[in-house]
């Protein structure tokens, strides 16, 4: 094998190197931990907001080319820093504070939404040993954290003191809650085989040949993947489940009263959610960062996630929107029974050992 290029070498050394440098300076252990994890937090935040900005631009280009038009072309080659300009524009927009009794709720809703979107990346396995904290309850932690968005949607809906926003907030809360159940169930069918909740173990369990990936575990693998993807699109309010901001009916749902940077936070959080959801899908079903080692493992991870994100984006530009009651009915009457049946089948396969 050719020698690995130094720059693209596994980045795992980064954390250890930082750790030793600080210990050398002789600070107390707690301060060392605080500083390392603070810097890690800043790095993760920086990388992810860049990814989110890039995803917004990518969605506009994908939707343009699907509809045979050009999309943003003005700023830079093919408009690559268009989203940066949008963010700057939103920054200098006036931040309208509406007259409402619960100013606190109105103010903190976007903050919670934004923070909840980033919390999930503590346990995300970007690459070989490239993880912030390999908690042994990894996937459970992610499940707990991603439900924060429901609270923020409800707060936004209630805080903006507006009939449409309230309707939008209530609808989205009901939707995210009812799609949480099939999502967790489809994740469970995979955890049965891994035996541990930690994300690193999940990825390690799928190393080796491509057939070890859980998506190829016939018959429950592909079914679990399909139900997971459907539940995931509902989780981040994207078509065909984007009832909360169904423009035609509710004039853009819960974020109708927000302007300027607050609106940008909701918007950015939605795209970070999309990246989180596809990252989890890749870790669970497509073997995380496993791949031939002449390409660094974190590039494998990024590549697979972007393919899943492309799939989510194509959903948005192909399918019409479901009605609220159809959406609920689909979740409870179709998705939940299918995922639980799948869970039982996986259990039987695990019990009798018919897996490889």
């Amino acid at each position: 094998m050719i020698g690995k290029p130094v720059l693209l070498a596994e980045l795992h050394g980064l954390f250890q190197w930082l750790h030793e440098k600080l210990q050398a300076t002789g600070l107390s252990q707690t301060w060392v931990d605080i500083i390392t994890y603070a810097t890690l937090g800043v790095i993760i935040f920086g990388v992810l907001s860049l990814i989110a900005l890039y995803l917004i631009w990518w969605e506009r280009k994908i939707s343009a080319h699907v509809q045979q038009r050009f999309g943003p072309m003005r700023h830079g080659w093919h408009g690559w820093y268009q989203t940066v300009m949008d963010a700057l524009k939103l920054l200098q927009k006036e931040d309208i504070r509406i007259v409402t009794r619960d100013k606190v709720v109105f103010f903190w809703a976007p903050v919670i939404c934004f923070v909840a979107a980033f919390l999930a990346y503590v346990v995300m396995p970007f690459g070989d040993r490239l993880i912030v904290a390999d908690l042994n309850i990894g996937i459970l932690y992610i499940m707990a954290v991603t439900t924060f968005t429901i609270i923020s949607l409800l707060m936004a809906g209630w805080g903006s003191n507006n009939k449409y926003a309230l309707l939008g907030g209530m609808r989205s809360a009901a939707q995210v809650v009812s799609y949480e159940v099939p999502m967790v169930a489809s994740i469970l069918t995979i955890i049965i085989f891994v035996g541990s909740l930690s994300m690193m173990d999940i990825v390690k369990a799928q190393s080796g040949l491509i057939f070890n990936w859980y998506v190829f575990r016939i018959p429950f693998g592909p079914i679990a993947f399909l139900t997971y993807i459907v539940a995931a699109t509902a989780e981040c309010n994207r078509t065909p489940f984007d009832i909360p901001e169904a423009e035609q009916e509710l004039v853009s749902g819960y974020n109708v009263e927000y302007s300027g940077m607050k609106f940008a936070m909701f918007f950015l959080a939605e795209f970070v959610n999309m990246f989180t959801v596809s990252a989890i899908a890749v870790t669970l079903f497509f073997g995380g960062w496993n791949g031939w080692d002449f390409i660094p493992s974190w590039i494998w991870f990024l590549g697979k996630t972007l393919i899943i994100v492309l799939l989510l984006m194509l959903f948005r530009w192909t399918y019409p929107r479901l009605r609220v009651d159809q959406l609920m009915e689909f979740a409870w009457k179709f998705l939940v029974p299918v995922t639980f049946a799948n869970l039982i089948v996986a259990g039987i396969f695990k019990y009798f050992g018919w897996y490889w």
Partner: protein, 370 residues
Amino acid sequence: MMAELRTEEFIVNMGPHHPATHGVCRLMLTMNGEKIVKIEPVIGYLHRAIEKICENRTYAQCIPILDRFEYVTSMSCNYVFSLAAERLAEIEVPERAEYLRVIMLELNRIASHLLFYGVTAMDIGAYTPFLYGLRERELIIDLFEMTCGQRLTYNYIRVGGVSKDIPKQFVPQCRKAIKIIGEKLTDYTGLLNENPIWLERTKGIAVLPADLAIAYGVSGPVLRASGVQYDIRRNDPYCIYDRFDFEIPVRPNGDCFDRYMLRIDEIRQSIRILSQALDGLPEGEIRHKKVKDATFKPPAGEAYARIENSRGEMGIYLVSDGSKKPLRVKTRGGSYNQLQVLPQYGTDMLIADLVANFATLDVIMPEVDR
């Protein structure tokens, strides 16, 4: 004592600048939770008194004014006014002009249905079909621009014939446009027709019974989607439609899906008519000799002309007192009655169904407000 929980209905305004309404229409909805209790259309935002203006114009000047009466299919506005004037003055239109008129009317019908396809899909949430529909519509708009010079308000069909002859490369380009649209239809139907989400949103939603439709004067694709076989090109024939063989698509159960599918079938029928008309296009005069724009004076009398427009029956009741200017021009559009029947059958469903229902009615406001 816990206060007795009572829910009261609240009024939601859909429009006048609501993205789902076509033009400037406002629906005052009385809602009980998600269910709609009462719909009250509020119109008049786009009232330009077209009928009063036409009473003060000569017959040739009325045509550009009536272009704006229904700007999505303004060829049929020109045609129906010319037909009324020709019936008043008993004028025979030359053969070639009749063929050119049929070609223009059917092209306009296809363009209007393509716009309908895009807008209905966008109202129910799918954004891409709108672009596909408009991409094909551009082919037809180019044909219009090549013959009469304008893309939306054509002022092409005049009393006694048509104003200009078609350029040489119109026929081959028109054949190519029809072929492309015929092929692309499979793309459209693939995207939507069997899509389970689309079927879920449109099948069995907002059923319009046939007798209610006839009672309220609903006509065109909406009436034929409720199972009534009534098409003015067949039942009250005008122009040379009896020379072409084409069927009238009819669908039985009158729900949103049938109204949508019927228009796709109508595009196919229009393509059939167009290919026959293009084959049989004769040479010859394009306008009646004695009809000059500045001096056209029909004898006194009155006549009601009506044609099958993409939104139903479009009619003009023309009264003339023998002078150069019409005494009365009453314009009748298909959307007027479809909006009138909406409150009768459009209630106790969700807002999302009302949006789907309103989109498949294909109501546009210039025809209602005039």
